[in-house]
Symmetry: C2
Subunit: 762 residues, 2 copies
């Protein structure tokens, strides 16, 4: 019965062919489809029993048409129908006509109607099924493409602010062909390469940049951060090696030492003649650094201080520069005079001779391979009663006088320690700026790739760039907007730091801690998205994302564990910047909790809780109110909760512990409000109107994606209703869609040197 | 005026000392505190002007007491007061008494009252300030410790199910001292080491385990998955190298080939005499594998098939075993006969001779270093018209007959392709099981470390294990519960796969795709938490977490990009398992959308939306209803949305694109419901009552943490109100707190060989 010429001999049956083809071509027939088709065939009075049998043979799943038959059908259909038909039945009619004009005329309107009814019942939308027979298929999704018209260079200048010249100078050095990427694999090779590159940076004057002119520097602290940030486009081991030497080791001598130490050390530190370390963390004391156990015992007899590691796990650990290159270290140790413990101070202690031989009494172990940053030689250090001259105590905050008496302008050991730490807050500025640069680099690679990489497409249409897919946009566009937002807040933090006074020092320390935590978490999450968004390509070392991910992963830990930091930020918010930052002692918080007057909280706006119009959703004022509302209410709730727990007799330590999650959110809400405000502030100050529409969109996308992330909180609180959070989700999608065309240009704004985008895919 | 003996000479003034000490010891005095203290001093009629001046000198922030003075005060206080006092004033009174009994008697109740009033105003809670003078300070937080009493071994047996013997056999091999970890660093060394270990595994019979007995195997597919999973405790490069050889290469020959291929290849594959590859992915076609471009052209003349790479970017990429060891490959290519394209089929193609020399026409490039899995030699392969005998076409689903005609029982090329892929679903079982093993290993290391690692503590109390902190519990305990939940669902998936029929094949493919995506995302997120939760230690290579993270990162991409897979799962849910899985063609979905009757959705329970009692929150029935409700409503909303968009004239491709985010959530909600149900099912079947309380808690923690994650959705929908989601958050905290004592034992249940927990910190 299966007869390849049967259709040709009975051309009226072609009317059935398109439907038969479509149903077999892309699926196996379901019972319902079979039944509907069978009914259709049976209802046609104009075909006889034999023809009916012929057609019904194609309704048997046990005996489907052969692949060749299917292909022949397709060919037959394509030959007959040049133009787009309205439905499968009109296509069938055209087929009949093509083979036999007479029969076509015989197809009655009723017949066609019954076919169309069947089509509809089966669910074969004419537009969709038509695409099966077409070579081209354009969709809205297909049309999206890179076509931005905002002035890229002007936006770059805005981001660079006053630092353009310094940035260019750094980029010139790292773009030089001699500035190769260190080889990965062999640890020692990579470390030596990074060390050599660091020397080149020092030769270019970058190492001493922040130091006073008399020690070979430029006295330009802002420039130092710019250098750290710009170097981050190249290799993060290099940045950290650079930061350990000139930031941690150099700045500790600069900020904790006095004139005599500056004279003795700074020039050689800045030139990298004297490589050194920052030896604070101990194996047993990382976050709780106040508890460190290394001792520095003063001897009146010979005016020396003896540095000692009291037990194996009190060794200094993860110390950068220690495993191979460090010759001296700023060592943090408890100062003991006449058996009285004066708390933690800092001392310059030798580790190696200038030839690189270990000093007697110093034992160093290599930390070995790490997840990343393998160009940095981290080590453990033990001191076995290493004596140093009393002059090598860094005595900015406390010292030992000629009579061997301890002196300090700060009574409390605890407070002195945190005041000392406070001066080192620069690390919590350099790290987030480096982290953000890494995120920008990851986004540049992922967005460029996603703009080029095509995968899937409409039926018989071309494949479309993966950045045209909503899910891909949701992965990459909100982080792109956030990276802009963070850029301005880190510039703000830097400026605050450069102008800090006694009065706002605590606030700035909290701000730095919070932004460090927020930015590094952002970077970790963003690079994860970039890795997944670039698929297998993002897993290959040549495409840079693996190194970015591995290297920055520790950023969430060093310069302070993010979770611990965010709880400190919250405590600081609770005490309104009153107290020393970094102290985990709670007494000062009680003072606040006990005495705090009722805060005037922002009230809900009963109309706004349901507003979903675009004007409102895109109103920057609305965004700020929503962020402020959350910040205030979450802080006030935390204060009330702590007070209630303590009033109910809970130990304060327990009360703070069980509120830990709440406190982290207090810190995050504070930082998010600052980031939004500073983004808005930057936009307000933009003079070039041509930049504003894009910046406004980025600011809205940042704000709304944060609100979307926090929608559970807003809904719980009643600040928004479901209709509104749904509208916000939709607007996040819409803004991502609109910004897709600008995405590549928005990464060009970062102006990352091409050689640093080593990624083959970028 | 500052006179160190003034207090001694005026012992009544000791009454002020504790307050002065406390205020200076841990903070700098605020204006308010200064004012309150000054008022207190001035209001005391029993001190004269000189005494008043003496005291007031200590209220000057410009001239604080010296560090020595502060220390002396402390010593004085500690000497006098052995026992705990009720407040700073009673402590002061005790001090006065210690130095001069007479004066103590003179302190009037009114005086004491005024002091206590001041204390309260300042906010110095007696309990808290007292801790300053104590050496011990116990808190609820301090008391938490590992103290589990459920039968660990019995729970291990429950997890192992029928597979205990196989697991022990694998563990015996990987625990052998000869089974060292491969060196990291030099690529070639690591690859050769992993290859050698793979040979050892083959010698132990693991390679051929799943193959029929006639080819040296045991015909035990379930055992094969168990082996993959258990090996994952050792080294993931080894697992993937093993999986490439015996799973991808071996199973493709087994499932896509016929008897003749089994005879020709399986024995040598299982013994690793014949190393091979699975060459499907091309540079330009990864997710959209249907579009791959390699051709396999049949020549009637000499009955050969010629494999060809049409252009540079149509090369096979990321192919495991290709860069170094592979001698043959299952190559996926479009079969062309007489210029007709019959769609993608699979062919066995030689790459290298048994001596390892490349075959003529084959070009291979090394993919080089990757983020992880560097023990696997991935490569790119180009074929320049490599001819193979027609017999090496794997002809389970289609073939070429003796007349050179194509034959297949499946009409549509598209459907044939996805049917073929469907048989390879095993990879989407092996990968999530390996991923879960990696997560369990990470959790074991992180939880053991967090149970031992102490940091911070109550004032003057001992430091407490970091696992006692709420934030740390929230990081690690819900993932621990989820890892149990996933364990049972992956066992369920395995069983379904082993018993699959034509009827449920599509459902199982969707289940595998969804569980693969869900589990690998879970693993990536969990290992990130483990890394951060173990701080710097977690960044060191020796502590295993870096390798776990780097190696599993690609799991979210290979065997299918997770985001693409979750959208496929959603599409499959929309069509109720009717259609071939993996097809991105949408016609079949319209059929469903157009025809689907109204679904009977679960209705909200108006009382339950506000219920917050423990009985309800811990009710497994409530959890299942909440999960099912979400699954049904999110699916139904997606269907309605798609239908609306298409009815409004949107192209289906666009409609699916703009619904992408929604669809991913449809997939996730489905998988979460399955995971919860299977966990409950497993608990129901537990005979040993002693295991139930712990399993119930784990199931509740899993369920409630998922609901907490989705609370925005539940609140938007109105299924829960804010009071309830808040109560759920509290319960997640509470369950994590309660399970903290069991956490170490719950990781012991995984019974990971100690040598595999290479982590120094574990």
């Amino acid at each position: 019965m299966v007869n390849s010429t049967y259709f040709e001999n009975n051309p009226k049956l072609y009317l059935f062919l398109p439907m038969l083809y479509v149903l077999w071509a892309d699926s196996v027939l379901s019972k319902r489809e079979l039944q509907l088709l069978e009914e259709l065939i049976k209802s046609q009075k104009w075909i006889n029993a034999e023809e009916q049998d012929f057609l019904e043979q194609y309704l048997n799943p046990e005996n489907p048409p052969s692949p060749q038959t299917l292909k022949k059908w397709r060919k037959t259909i394509l030959e007959a129908a040049e133009t787009q038909e309205e439905s499968l039945s009109t296509l069938g009619k055209a087929l009949v006509k093509h083979h036999d004009k007479e029969h076509e005329a015989a197809i009655s309107p009723e017949t066609l109607e019954s076919f169309q009814e069947a089509e509809e019942k089966i669910g074969l939308l004419h537009k969709e099924t038509n695409y099966i027979f077409q070579k081209k298929h354009d969709t809205v999704t297909s049309q999206l493409q890179t076509e931005s018209d905002f002035p890229v260079k002007k936006l770059t200048q805005l981001l660079e602010g006053t630092q353009g010249e310094t940035i260019q100078k750094v980029k010139a050095v790292i773009s030089d062909p001699s500035f190769k990427y260190p080889d990965k694999g062999d640890l020692q090779t990579e470390r030596e390469q990074v060390y050599a590159l660091c020397k080149t940076l020092a030769e270019n004057g970058f190492g001493s940049w922040a130091f006073p002119k008399e020690y070979g520097g430029k006295g330009d602290m802002e420039g130092y951060f710019t250098i750290m940030e710009t170097l981050s486009y190249h290799d993060l081991s290099l940045v950290i090696k650079f930061g350990v030497q000139f930031g941690l080791w150099g700045m500790s001598v600069f900020f904790l030492g006095s004139e005599k130490h500056h004279q003795k050390y700074l020039t050689d530190i800045g030139s990298l003649k004297l490589p050194g370390c920052f030896a604070m963390t101990e194996t047993n004391h990382g976050s709780n650094v106040k508890g460190l156990e290394t001792t520095a015992t003063y001897s009146k007899a010979d005016k020396t201080i003896t540095i000692n590691t009291p037990h194996e796990k009190a060794c200094k650990e993860y110390i950068g520069n220690a495993a191979m290159h460090g010759q001296k270290a700023t060592v943090f140790a408890k100062l003991i005079i006449d058996e009285v413990d004066y708390g933690v101070s800092a001392f310059v202690v030798p580790l190696r001779t200038s030839e690189g031989n270990l000093i007697d009494g110093v034992r160093i172990e290599d930390c070995g391979r790490k997840m990343g940053l393998n160009g940095v030689d981290n080590g453990k250090i033990w001191f076995d009663n290493v004596a140093i001259p009393v002059d090598d105590m860094l005595d900015k905050f406390s010292g030992i006088d000629d009579h061997g008496e301890f002196f300090s302008s700060i009574s409390s050991d605890n407070r002195r320690f945190f005041t000392m730490l406070g001066t080192l807050v620069g690390g919590r500025i350099g790290i987030p700026r480096s982290a953000l640069a890494a995120a920008k680099k990851g986004l540049t690679i992922a967005i460029r790739y996603s703009d080029q990489r095509k995968q899937f497409g409409p039926k018989n249409g071309e494949e479309v760039p993966i950045l045209n897919y909503r899910m891909h946009q949701r992965r990459l566009l909100p982080p792109l907007a956030t990276s802009y937002a963070l850029h301005f807040s880190l510039q703000y933090l830097t400026k605050r730091f450069l102008n800090k006074t006694e009065d706002d020092a605590r606030e700035i320390e909290a701000l730095a801690a919070g932004l460090k935590a927020y930015t590094t978490w952002f970077t970790t999450a963003t690079l994860q998205e970039c890795r997944e968004a670039t698929g297998g390509k993002g897993y290959l070392w040549e495409n840079a994302i693996p190194a970015l991910k591995a290297d920055t992963d520790i950023y969430t830990t060093f310069e302070g564990d993010n979770t611990v930091l965010m709880q400190l930020v919250a405590k600081n918010r609770l005490t309104e910047f009153k107290q020393e930052f970094g102290d985990m002692d709670f007494i000062t918080v009680f003072n606040y909790l006990t005495n705090s007057a009722k805060v005037n909280l922002i009230e809900k706006n009963p109309i706004a809780v349901r507003r979903t119009d675009d004007e409102h959703l895109l109103d920057l004022e609305f965004h700020e109110s929503a962020f402020r509302y959350r910040e205030e209410h979450i802080l006030s709730a935390a204060a009330q909760r702590l007070k209630r727990l303590i009033d109910d007799g809970m130990d304060s330590f327990d009360a703070f512990n069980v509120s830990g999650h709440h406190l982290v959110n207090v810190g995050i809400a504070y930082i998010e409000r600052i980031v939004l405000e500073q983004f808005h502030e930057a936009i307000k100050n933009v003079e070039d109107e041509s930049l504003k529409p894009t910046l406004d969109k980025l600011a809205s996308l940042f704000a709304l994606s944060v609100i979307e992330k926090n929608k559970g909180w807003y809904l719980e609180d009643g600040y928004m209703e479901g209709v509104k959070t749904k509208a916000i989700r939709k607007m996040v999608n819409q803004l991502s869609w609109e910004l897709r065309k600008d995405a590549v240009a928005l990464t060009e704004v970062f102006d990352i040197p091409e050689n640093c985008l080593a990624a083959a895919i970028a």
